[in-house]
């Protein structure tokens, strides 16, 4: 799977997704719970905004000095005996990893959850080398077993499936015979893939934050699969987006504290693991070989653009968990591995407007996401910026551009505007019948699908406003007439 998860057009995707009652209920329920947990954790600290400001400061400093910190990181990884590959493109990253697979003649790879490896479409590359790849995070495993169903949430990827659906998938694909009890299914998966960790030649992980001062990478997880994937196979490959770095362990403290609270509402997740290089010479477990792949894949262009702030993102999904648009359409509607507000900003930047031009419109600009972001990314401003950019680049639909041009033309001249409003006021009652137009096109058609147009009274707002004092049926008219009458009596 690469970043793009669907070829169906955006509006069609939304229509299909919105028919899925379970998904909608489940997303709403999940949002409630995750939003509440995050809020409770933030409130408990009492000075959440100070934490956020620290987080923003750290992330901005790193972005401004990214070359320095990446250089320092690579020096320190090298000192521990680890290898570093700087990949400018997804292809360079996958080529490097493919070479390792070939060189080791690897037959099995275990992966822990990593968005960046999804972004570069790593699994397909591994598989074309006759090498099995097992996604070991439970949510990712469910999706992989279900013929690589796309994820719908960056933290809880199988959020759109209910336990019965998951039981069915397990029964069909991996011979599960038990009930739909989540605990029973989880234990089954534990037993079912434990041998894979032991047999795997290579473990592949992402990286929540690399630590420049020591050449370490940190993984923030719950299930224990990342620990297994980094402890048992002989080779460990970590792939990181180039911006996911902190100067020292002191900043790691702040960032991990923000991440865990924002993602799951806890002070820390079950496991925060810091891996430094390959195992030491006398260690009995841990990978003998460590590779760190640092990926640009469009990030340096973002850094140089007006969208730079998005690179502060720490992938906590707090914005997703608060977004009303996401709540209605669900994660798969976005057609990208990144959904919700972060997806609406990031997908067009990393994947281009050709594939993701609709996503900035999956937003009501309510700004709820700005308020919850732990590193204060002005997400809704960036979404609006995408829309502006697309207008300037003339990527928006022709009909929309013509309508806006016509509006601008009329609006620029008071005379023309008044005249067109008067004409509109007269024509509207003749064509609108029972709240509908005879021909429904464009935005009007979408609007009237669920609502009725108001029944016009043949007058424009401006002419009503100008005459309102003389209108004996309007409240203003009645009040003013009374005041006038009282005055004349006195």
């Amino acid at each position: 799977m690469s970043m793009k998860t669907s070829d169906v057009i955006f509006k069609q995707r939304i229509k299909e997704q919105m028919q899925d009652g379970f998904m909608r209920k489940s997303v709403a329920n999940a949002q409630e719970r995750m939003f509440t947990n995050r809020q409770l954790a933030a409130d408990k600290l009492g000075n959440w905004d100070e934490w956020r400001e620290n987080g923003m400061e750290i992330r901005n400093h790193v972005l401004d000095n990214l070359d320095y910190y990446l250089h320092q990181l690579s020096e320190n990884v090298q000192k521990t005996g680890g290898h570093v590959f700087f990949a400018e493109t997804a292809q360079q990253a996958t080529d490097y990893i493919e070479n390792i697979i070939k060189e080791k003649d690897a037959k099995k790879v275990v992966k822990s959850k990593s968005m960046v490896t999804e972004e570069i479409g790593l699994n397909e590359v591994i598989q074309r080398n006759n090498c099995e790849v097992i996604e070991t995070d439970l949510g990712e495993y469910i999706l992989q077993v279900d013929d690589c169903d796309p994820p719908s949430h960056i933290v809880v990827p199988a959020l759109h499936k209910n336990r019965e659906q998951i039981r069915g998938v397990f029964e069909d694909k991996i011979g599960y015979k038990g009930s739909s009890d989540p605990e029973e299914m989880t234990r089954f998966v534990r037993e079912h893939i434990r041998h894979d960790f032991i047999e795997a030649d290579i473990g592949i992980t992402g990286c929540n934050f690399a630590v420049a001062e020591s050449g370490s990478i940190s993984l923030v997880t719950n299930e224990g699969n990342a620990r297994l994937a980094t402890s048992l196979p002989k080779v460990h490959i970590a792939v990181m987006g180039m911006e996911r770095i902190v100067p020292t362990f002191e900043e790691l403290d702040i960032m991990v504290s923000l991440l865990c609270r924002s993602a799951v509402g806890l002070p820390l997740t079950g496991y925060v693991t810091a891996i430094t290089g390959p195992r030491e010479s006398n260690d009995m477990d841990g990978a003998e070989e460590f590779h760190l792949v640092i990926l640009d894949n469009g990030r340096s262009d973002i850094l140089a653009s007006e969208f730079k702030d998005i690179l502060r993102c720490i992938r906590c999904a707090a914005c997703v968990n608060t977004c009303p648009a996401y709540r209605h359409i669900g994660g798969q509607s976005y057609g990208s591995i990144y959904s919700g507000p972060i997806g609406a900003v990031l997908s067009p930047l990393l994947g281009g407007y050709d594939d993701f031009q609709d996503l900035p419109y999956a937003c009501s600009l309510c700004q709820g996401c700005n308020d919850v972001c732990p590193v204060k990314i002005p997400l809704s401003d960036l979404i609006l910026k995408h829309r502006e950019k697309m207008v300037i680049k003339k990527i928006t639909p022709l009909a929309e551009r013509l309508t806006v041009s016509a509006f601008n033309y009329l609006n620029a001249s008071p005379k023309l505007w008044n005249m067109s409003m008067k004409i509109g006021g007269k024509v509207a009652p003749k064509v609108i019948k029972d709240g509908k137009l005879p021909i429904n096109v464009g935005a009007v058609a979408e609007w009237t699908e669920a609502r009725d147009l108001p029944q016009p009274d043949g007058e424009s707002f401006r002419s009503w406003f100008a005459n309102r004092d003389n209108d004996t049926t309007s409240v203003t008219g009645i009040v003013k007439a009374k005041v006038k009458a009282n005055k004349s009596e006195k």
Binding site: S26, N29, N47, E50, W51, E53, N54, E57, H61, L66, D67, Q78, T80, G81, H83, F86, T136, I142, V156, A158, L159, K161, R163, E183, T186, R190, E213, N222, E223, G224, N225, R227, L228, T230, S231, T248, F249, E250, L252, D253, I254, V256, S257, V264, L266, L268, T269, G270, Y271, T273, A274, T276, E280, D283, M284, D285, I294, D296, L303, A304
Partner: protein, 237 residues
């Protein structure tokens, strides 16, 4: 042995260009943070208070067993924990602090089948022993009161697998080593790094047994890592 760095010059050169300046690999100072809320957490707590918060959090939020005992009660405590978890085979970290506390010797007498992580044995043998064990016993470097977390540093004698492969993890921590939060634990790693020391290849912050909420957001304890966790605070250590 030093590792290899590939493609760095081109990559960083082009990155610097995008940043609108020359490549800079020296002399950057970290900014001091605008706020210090992380230093205020439980700043005036004594060790007993930290231990209370730690055990309370462990019990209420992590679904783990948390107990406090003195050194002379440790053997008895471990016996009852291992019995409670129906320990068959037990694997004990090769940590000298556990040896000094006579943990392995005691458990051998009580349960018989006890393996100590052994650097003289092959990798596969150690892994196999840990894989077969029901209970793994480790000694933690620090514990974090705020999040009920045990901090483990890997070493030749402290295999990562001891707290990973068995169904139950038992952590021992001296009360004097409990700190308020991650701030104090990361400071220790920061100081090491600044002193030019190589960090342990794996540092783990472990809060309870493994868990997931990937199916309908229902929390299930016990996924790929341990299913149970027990924390033993040694009060007079």
């Amino acid at each position: 042995m030093q590792g290899k760095i590939h493609n760095r010059d081109t990559f960083l050169g082009s990155l610097a260009k995008k940043l609108g300046r020359e490549l800079n690999t020296q002399g950057v100072e970290r900014p001091s943070l605008p706020h210090r809320p992380h230093h205020d957490v439980m700043a005036d707590f004594n060790q007993q208070q930290l231990a209370d918060v730690f055990l309370e959090y462990t019990k209420n939020n992590l679904g783990s067993l948390g107990v406090s005992c003195n050194k002379d009660e440790l053997h008895e405590t471990l016996t009852s924990i291992c019995t409670g978890f129906n320990a068959g085979k037990i694997v004990v970290s090769g940590d000298r602090r556990l040896a000094e506390l006579q943990v392995t010797n005691h458990l051998k007498l009580q349960f018989g089948d006890v393996y100590t992580w052994d650097t003289d044995q092959a990798h596969d043998i150690n892994i196999k022993q840990a894989e077969q064990a029901k209970v793994g016993i480790v000694f933690a470097e620090q514990a974090l009161a705020e999040s009920g977390t045990m901090v483990l540093h890997s070493a030749a004698t402290h295999g990562r697998s001891v707290s990973l492969l068995p169904e139950t993890s038992v952590f021992l921590i001296p009360q004097s080593k409990i700190v308020p939060r991650m701030t104090q634990a990361t400071k220790r790693l920061h100081d090491k790094a600044q002193a030019g020391e190589r960090l342990p290849s794996c540092v783990n912050f472990i809060s309870g047994p493994s868990s997931t909420a990937d199916i309908e957001l229902i929390k299930v304890i016990g996924v790929h890592g341990p299913i149970h966790a027990a924390y033993v605070v040694i009060a007079d250590m």
